[in-house]
């Protein structure tokens, strides 16, 4: 739950920096609708590496998995459970 909240806060800060003040829910698509872009995905990857020691390998990386708070949280959870 804590991880989930941290991810949510980080994404909110990215959107705020982009001047996007529209609210978003955990399952709202962000990447596919253009609210975040590929550079933001990298910022999220960097954040996950720093905060959760999440090691994203190129083979498993799929940009579309970074589409919503929920999908990112599931990624981190599945890595922790692996």
């Amino acid at each position: 739950m804590e991880k989930h909240e941290k991810i949510r806060k980080f994404i909110a800060s990215i959107l705020q920096r982009k001047g996007d003040s529209e609210p978003f829910s955990d399952d709202d698509s962000l990447l596919l609708v253009g609210r975040i872009d590929s550079l933001n995905v990298l910022e999220i990857v960097g954040f996950l590496e720093r905060e959760f020691n999440y090691d994203v390998s190129e083979d498993l990386f799929n940009q579309e998995n970074f589409d919503s708070v929920e999908s990112i949280s599931s990624l981190v959870e599945s890595e922790c459970n692996a």
């Binding site: 920096r17 001047g19 590929s38 550079l39 994203v56 390998s57 990386f61 579309e64």
Partner: protein, 477 residues
């Protein structure tokens, strides 16, 4: 081109409800097809295709595959290169020959993608894009310089011309992350160069992306189609504005001709560069006007063409993002590129940026981003354009074509470094409001650098430097 906020028609419940009825769907397709006759002669074929795809959503994929196959046979994307090549090889202009080449290409590509899904751990498919590009460039070198029997050489060239048009579509299929679970399907191959249009850049990306943005319900289809209609109206407006702009600025022939007869036309960039090289440059203010008008002309063309492609894609049931979205709202160099060439930028990100980012400089976060950006916007951009202009490689041979490419290499290098710096500056920086000055500086940068983005490969860097010099230093005879 920049745009006002288009009205959010896709949120109006009555319109959405109407769009879900059979009658509503037919009306939407009729409106779209009527608009399409303003820019294409294929509007009848487009009407038939979109009607079937809209009314039979369960068969959307096979119908798109069939339509795209029909398009590939009737209007081959490699037609121009084949026509050009027919000077060397008369039979390449023959339609049965083209069909045979296309069939051979589809067969071999199907085999390649089947093998990639079947043996994902094979060394070739562990780094599929890198290996595909090495194979393609190796074949170019072989065809250019090896002493091969004439017919074999022709065959290799024809194959390279066709596969060059589909190269990045194949790359997307080979890197489809769900390839382990998704069985190979022939319809996937026929989604390459889809009927809604593409350049060598796949619009909108590959099969994996299409699956994500595909309308799953009648409600989602109505949203996608309303957005498609909005975009086609916007694109037609841009097309019309572009036509007027060219008549006023460059003196193109058109209905405004009688009113503009006494106004001098702005010379083209080509004329201005030639004049500078010849030592008779235009006055400084004319050089600046040429630069600015050339830039506006390019933005109009990119915006309207990309808009038409994405609007048609949306009508086919895919809620794709626009290729060009308010470029004049960009606050940074990196943002402008993203807003102007979205799908090309995505291609560079997918095949050059991410691989470089994940492999190098993990302990240096900012340099890591910079390096990956230069790899994408610099190296990837240059490689894409070098391979795209295959006619020059055929004409000049591989090495001479590479030498002729030096100006574009410089352009890519400057662009890559500039976008890289822009990226790391914007990372973790606080929100900045758009300011006129930052926008103007970004536009000025692209105005200047786009001079080097020139399809003519016979000039030297010094030729462009001469023109640039005349922008800043008045010429005295």
């Amino acid at each position: 081109m920049t745009s006002l906020n288009l009205p959010r028609l896709e949120t109006i419940p009555t319109l959405l409800k109407f769009g879900q009825t059979t009658f509503g769907k037919i009306i939407f397709v009729i409106i779209f097809s009527t608009m399409s006759c303003l820019y294409t002669e294929r509007f009848v074929e487009l009407f038939v295709a979109l009607s079937m795809i809209t009314l039979l959503p369960d068969y959307r994929r096979p119908l798109i595959a069939l339509t795209s196959l029909f398009w590939a046979i009737r209007f081959p994307c490699f037609e121009r290169d084949f026509t050009w090549f027919s000077r060397h090889l008369p039979m390449s202009g023959d339609s049965y020959y083209k069909l045979a080449c296309l069939a051979a290409f589809f067969f071999l590509t199907s085999l390649l993608i089947y093998l990639a899904r079947r043996f994902p751990e094979h060394w070739f498919f562990r780094r599929p894009v890198r290996n595909l590009l090495i194979f393609y460039i190796g074949s170019l070198l072989l065809a250019s310089h090896a002493s091969l029997p004439t017919h074999l050489s022709w065959f290799i060239w024809l194959f390279l011309i066709i596969s060059g048009k589909y190269l990045w579509f194949i790359a997307y299929s080979l890197t489809d992350k769900s390839r382990a679970t998704k069985p190979f399907s022939l319809t996937e191959i026929f989604h390459f160069q889809p009927f809604w249009g593409s350049s060598n850049v796949p619009y909108p990306k590959g099969e994996a992306y299409l699956r994500k943005i595909e309308a799953k319900t009648s409600y989602e289809l109505a949203i996608a189609q309303i957005k498609g209609l909005k975009l086609i109206f916007w694109s037609m407006f841009l097309l019309f504005a572009h036509m007027i702009f060219r008549q006023v600025a460059f003196g193109d022939v058109g209905f405004l001709e009688p009113f503009l007869a006494h106004f001098p036309a702005i010379p083209s960039l080509e004329m201005a560069i030639q004049a500078s090289i010849a030592g008779r440059p235009f006055p400084q203010h004319v050089c600046w006007l040429v630069l600015i008008f050339n830039f506006i002309d390019k933005i109009f063309a990119i915006s309207s063409n990309g808009g038409i492609i994405i609007a048609t894609c949306r009508m086919a049931g895919f809620n794709a993002l626009r290729n060009t979205y308010k470029p004049l709202y960009a606050k940074t160099i990196a943002e402008f590129y993203n807003r102007l060439y979205y799908y090309f930028k995505e291609l560079l990100v997918d095949f050059f940026f991410y691989p470089a980012y994940f492999r190098f400089f993990k302990n240096y976060p900012r340099f890591r981003v910079f390096f990956a950006t230069v790899a994408a916007a610099g190296f990837g951009n240059a490689l894409f354009h070098f391979l795209r202009d295959i006619d020059l490689i055929i004409e000049l041979g591989f090495w001479k074509a590479l030498v002729g490419f030096r100006v574009y290499l410089l352009y890519s290098l400057i662009l890559g470094i500039s976008i890289g710096i822009s990226q790391i500056r914007s990372m973790n920086s606080p929100y900045r409001k758009r300011s006129v000055m930052s926008t103007l500086l970004v536009l000025l940068f692209y105005c200047l650098i786009m001079v080097l983005d020139d399809p003519i490969r016979s000039r030297t860097i010094a030729d462009y430097a001469t023109f640039m010099l005349h922008l800043f230093v008045p010429y005295s005879r």
